[in-house]
Structure formats: structure tokens, C-alpha cells
Symmetry: none
Subunit: 136 residues, 2 copies
Amino acid sequence: MKKYLDKLKKNNLKITSKRVAILELLERSGEALSPEDIRNELAAKFEKVSYPSVYKNLEDMSRIGVLAKIARPDRRLYYALCRAREDKHHHHIICSKCGKVGEVEECDLFRRKVINGYRITSHFLQLEGICSDCGK
Amino acid sequence: MKKYLDKLKKNNLKITSKRVAILELLERSGEALSPEDIRNELAAKFEKVSYPSVYKNLEDMSRIGVLAKIARPDRRLYYALCRAREDKHHHHIICSKCGKVGEVEECDLFRRKVINGYRITSHFLQLEGICSDCGK
DNA sequence: CCTTAATTAGAAATGATTTCTATTTATACC
DNA sequence: GGTATAAATAGAAATCATTTCTAATTAAGG
């Protein structure tokens, strides 16, 4: 958490309770969440949470590289903690029934620099399935 | 072009002048275009072109696999002709600068039945990068 | 041709995101 | 610790890509 807050300071973004709560939520969940998801979670913790400040915080924090912004075919934007340094490269798989999220490390796209003439700048992989509990 | 029209027929989509014009436009441009781009191009050719039918055509044709739908961080949807061999599993990569779309066949996830205990039901992979022309 | 179901245009609605503005708050400096 | 000030915030209203609704038109099979 400290390294994210340091990065905020370094970029002249103040350490506000809302920003800390957003970062903690994204760290805890490990998923890409929508602004609406995030506002709803924060609403349980704070008396007042406005959409504009949630949107602005997500945008500001992704601009400085603390968060990753993800575009999906539902035309909504999703945000996830950018864990650039730590951990292994991975993606998430979501259980269609219970919503449980697991990690998928079988992805070697991050090693590829060029595919079919394109120098890759980003890739987004999303998996859906039935987890072992629900599949019994 | 014929193979696209055949696929429309096979899926009970009629061969209308608007659909043909959309396919020709996408084939000619080779890029992923927005519904707005497409409507504007068509407006030069037809007296009347409504947004709802452009949107519906793009959605219908991507549903049956003739077009690929691409979500980008500007929160708009883009559509490109799906040129890969029909039966070959593939994904798409879009150039961040010029919008050119290429096919990516290096994906072996579709062969995996189970990952990390999850029985996979679907996966979505989207790549972004700089194409060879723009990278010069 | 004729019939019928699909397609279309236009107007209005939708809903995620953004803008605007006045108030509050974090932080640098004393 | 107190204060100035620039950033952050909430709430109301606006924006704009996309969708819904409806009646008129059209493709395609018989």
C-alpha cells in the first residue's frame, strides 16, 4: 500500500480517505472493478460518496500508473490495481455461478514483444468458467 | 465478399444494400471503424442512413462472426471485418495509432478444458499495439 | 407477383460518464 | 498548532454513444 501512496504524493495527488479506500478495495479484491462497483463498496464505509469524485479518482490514479484502466465490450471502463513489480504475470478467471475469482498463470503473451508485426503494448485476457466447488 | 454474404444467409440475415456497403467499407479500409465512422461513410452513398440500423447491423454481424467487435479506452465500440479462416481459433490486435486490425493465432487457451480447477466456458483476449507501419 | 418476416428511419429514451459550481479538506509553510 | 491555498468533494445538470419503440419499407421464398 505504501508504494501506491508514495506514487500519489510524487504526482501531487493528495492522500485522501477516499483514495486510500479505493486502493484498499482494489488490493483486497484483486479484480478489475467498475466505477459503480467501487462507489457501492465505498458507500458502505462513508456517509457520502459522489460518482464524479470516484470517476475522477480512478482516472487520475490510472493516469499516473497506479491503476490500470480496462475497456470491455459492455462499453464500461474497469479499473484494477497495477501490480507492475510484484508477483507473476497473471489473469483472472471468474466463476459464472458463484463469482469466485481465481488466478491464471498460463499466459506467455507478456513475454512476446511482437506478434504479426505489431509491437504489443497491452493485452487483456478474461476467462469465465465453473469453479471446482460449483462443478461438483 | 461472397463468403461473408453466404454467412449472412446461413444465419438468416438478409443481404441488404446497407449490409453490403458496410462490409465493402470495412474490407476496403482494413481498420476497425466506429459506428459513427461507418454511418458517415454510408451517408455519402445513400440518401438515408439511420444510426439504429447501423448499430443493429454491426451488432448482428459481429454476433454471427462476420465482424469483430473491439472495445477501446475511449469507451466506444469499433468493428472490423473478421478475416481469419472461419474454423481457426483466433483473436484480434488493434494498432493504437492507426486502428489497423490484425489477427492473432497464437492462442492455445481454447485447447485447455480446465485451468486451476475451473472448467473454462469462455475466454476473451484483446491485444493492443503498434503496427509495423506506424512503428517505423 | 404475393406473403411474410426482417429491416429500416426517425423520434424518444437510456445510462454511464462528464461538466459545473460552491463547499470542504489535505498539505506546505509559518 | 494555526493558516493560506490549491486540490478534492458532493450534488445537480449536461453530454453523448447507444438502445428502444413504432410504423413504413423491403428482401426472399413460394
